[in-house]
Symmetry: none
Subunit: 414 residues, 2 copies
């Protein structure tokens, strides 16, 4: 079966925003054996929406609409779907009650315009949205002589994605003919992209029945293997076989064979070694701590960190001697090591890690360019220290530095 995804919202037709929900939905549809043949992005104009919907209904079986279900005058997806199908909208009493209950539980008054979120297309099933006020809708209809499945989903990712997974996927599974698609994701850190391709292309190009995608992003390489076969055993055998050949080729660049993030792996190793971690950051300003603490349960191994932007804080919170900073500068191997050792001893953590660098755009000196970063990782057995100069803007340099620090912690724990 063929699908089209329509992302609704004028903001996605500006130079500033992109639809990302469709990536999630595409992944889930592909896993069912449904291909996405078109994606359309359309603004909050009813005439344009109707044009996009009618076009889609003429060329695909499954239509997923995302966005335009909110309470504002700009939210027109319900109205446009109804118009495209010549169906009516009715205000659903149960939904009106739910909206009132929701407002009451938040102790906020409910504006009249909120009620348009209770408008339901004739014949549609309401899909409950536990993460927002606008419910989704599901239509299973005959249009132009063909069966069409239409989902209306809210636009915010944290509403759209769970709602699709909870309400649309089970319905689609029931309708779409079964097929096995084996998928595995391998991950590697800090390997140069060209080196990865040189290592891996001779391997994966021989597996013509496995679709291999390499995706690199600031020191993180994601390798996705997809194989679709009539029978599950063959599909998984092919994917697993290619995966082990890739794992072997990547050696210790590889950090995950099943899609875990680098921060998850670091926390996994910490747990395994019954070790704890504390960090001291300068130029990354909390980015490293933030990545680690984004993982649920991080508190079991992560004690905390310090963001020491001023030299005084480096001394006061990590015990870095003032003279050391004066002699070598705040961005130096010596200060990086003192920071890592300092946060380790002050917190009693098994592992201490530090980052100090020049994220730019200002702050460079004659001897220290923008992008220069010193990272140290210390444990009872000693310290690893690395100096690197990253290219790119402030954001880029910070992201690279945090990624390298995480990878150094991983390698120290291995």
């Amino acid at each position: 079966m063929k699908a089209e995804i329509i992302a609704v919202g004028s903001e996605m037709l500006t130079p500033f925003r992109q639809d990302t929900n469709s990536l999630h939905v595409t992944e889930k549809l592909n896993a069912l054996g449904v291909t996405v043949n078109f994606k359309t992005i359309v603004g909050d104009r009813q005439r344009d929406l109707v044009s996009a919907i009618r076009t889609a209904l003429g060329r695909v079986d499954i239509l997923i609409l995302m966005g335009g279900l909110g309470p504002t005058e700009d939210d027109l997806t319900r109205e446009a779907v109804a118009e495209s199908l010549s169906l009516t909208l009715r205000r659903d009493a149960a939904q009106v009650a739910a909206l009132h209950a929701r407002a009451a539980s938040w102790r906020i008054p409910m504006p009249e315009n909120n009620l348009k979120q209770a408008d339901v297309i004739a014949g549609a099933t309401v899909l409950p949205n536990p993460n927002g006020s606008a419910p989704g809708q599901w239509l299973d209809i005959t249009f132009g002589g063909y069966r069409k499945l239409i989902a209306l989903l809210p636009g915010p990712p944290r509403e759209c994605r769970p709602l699709f997974d909870a309400e649309c996927l089970p319905r689609l599974k029931f309708i779409v003919p079964p097929r096995t698609i084996a998928v595995r994701t391998l991950k590697a850190a800090m390997i140069p992209e060209s080196q990865a391709d040189k290592l891996l292309a001779p391997i994966y190009t021989t597996y013509t029945d496995v679709e291999t995608t390499l995706l690199a992003h600031t020191g993180d390489l994601q390798i996705t293997l997809i194989c679709s076969k009539p029978d599950a055993d063959t599909a998984w055998k092919r994917v697993d076989e290619l995966a082990s050949r890739i794992e072997e080729a990547l050696e210790d660049w590889l950090y995950s064979s099943d899609g875990d993030s680098l921060e998850q792996i670091v926390l996994y190793y910490l747990g395994l070694r019954q070790a704890t971690l504390a960090v001291a950051e300068s130029c990354t300003g909390g980015l490293l701590a933030q990545r680690i603490t984004s993982v649920p349960g991080a508190s079991r191994s992560f004690l905390g960190g310090i963001v020491v932007y001023s030299n005084e804080m480096k001394t006061q919170f990590a015990g870095v001697p003032m003279e050391l900073i004066a002699e070598y500068g705040a961005v130096s191997a010596e200060v990086a090591k003192a920071l890592a050792e300092g946060i380790r001893s002050r917190t009693g953590a098994t592992v201490g890690a530090s980052i100090t660098g020049i994220a730019g755009p200002t702050g460079a000196t004659d001897t220290k360019p923008v992008g220069l970063v010193h990272i140290a990782v210390c444990d009872p057995q000693g310290c690893d220290a690395v100096e690197r100069t990253f290219r790119g803007d402030r954001r880029h340099i910070r992201e690279w530095a945090a990624q390298l620090a995480l990878d150094m912690i991983r390698r120290r724990l291995m």
Copy 2:
């Protein structure tokens, strides 16, 4: 005039890749006064391409196609445009010669299929591509009684973007009636979306010549006003007039009248007051510090922060009494205040801010649900403290908490 962008390539219909060329092209089109009404992403299937092209020609004046001009069997854009317009393709002798010359200069043999890159649609102008082998094409035709401008551009960003700028923009400038587009972006923090719409819809809906877009994301509301007029003064007058009415209605929810981020505004106020800031975070794990330090020059006002995940660190690094934590719990107004006061006094910062909460999914108790957050902001005049319970997943709760803390710092500085 209205435009549609069609990005061609099956890889952009996978979960792993997105079109990004369209953002560049959109920005340049908008600057000419051309709005992008639709974006369509279509795979390398001729039937799908023809469907997308015919649909586009039925609803816009300018059609920009990107991708599908290479030498492989999958590259079908030339063929699909010709079929959609019932035009023929001819192999262009000059282009064939250019391809041979290019191959010779690279000292590589030229495969026969490369020659399809020399196929030109009848009536099209060839657009030279200095960065790749496939030239672009430009059609200025009458279709269905209307003038249509069609550009065929190569897909790789480093070919597509320069080619659009060098060859399409000058042609479009010559054809598109001159207009000025006035754009302003206002921003507000922590205002509920429905309340914003209730306040603002009665205002902006009366300005039918200004396109107003409201975009809300975890407590951040962005309002973009776009007005296109033949004459610059009128366009700016309309946008500025609507902007001041919106500013008035939003009162102190508004934090920026020209698109600055909340962290930029906080740093701006700190600079203005010659004040410094230090933060202590628990559940946000560095997210607040990371947002502040993402702004270049943050070090002028931001001293640093601590990420105090363990109770011991709360005591050791911010001087929170153990007994206070034992009595009220780490997630409490009392500990939030002690953290904010503690980091302030230890660092000597003018303003100290703290966040403590339960980001989940675990950690809830009978009296303290997941999502409960206490935030405190202290300065020499006193403290603001707020308790909120946010809904959503770990990531969401952390983002809301950091946003509210930034907004409380802003309000404290106002």
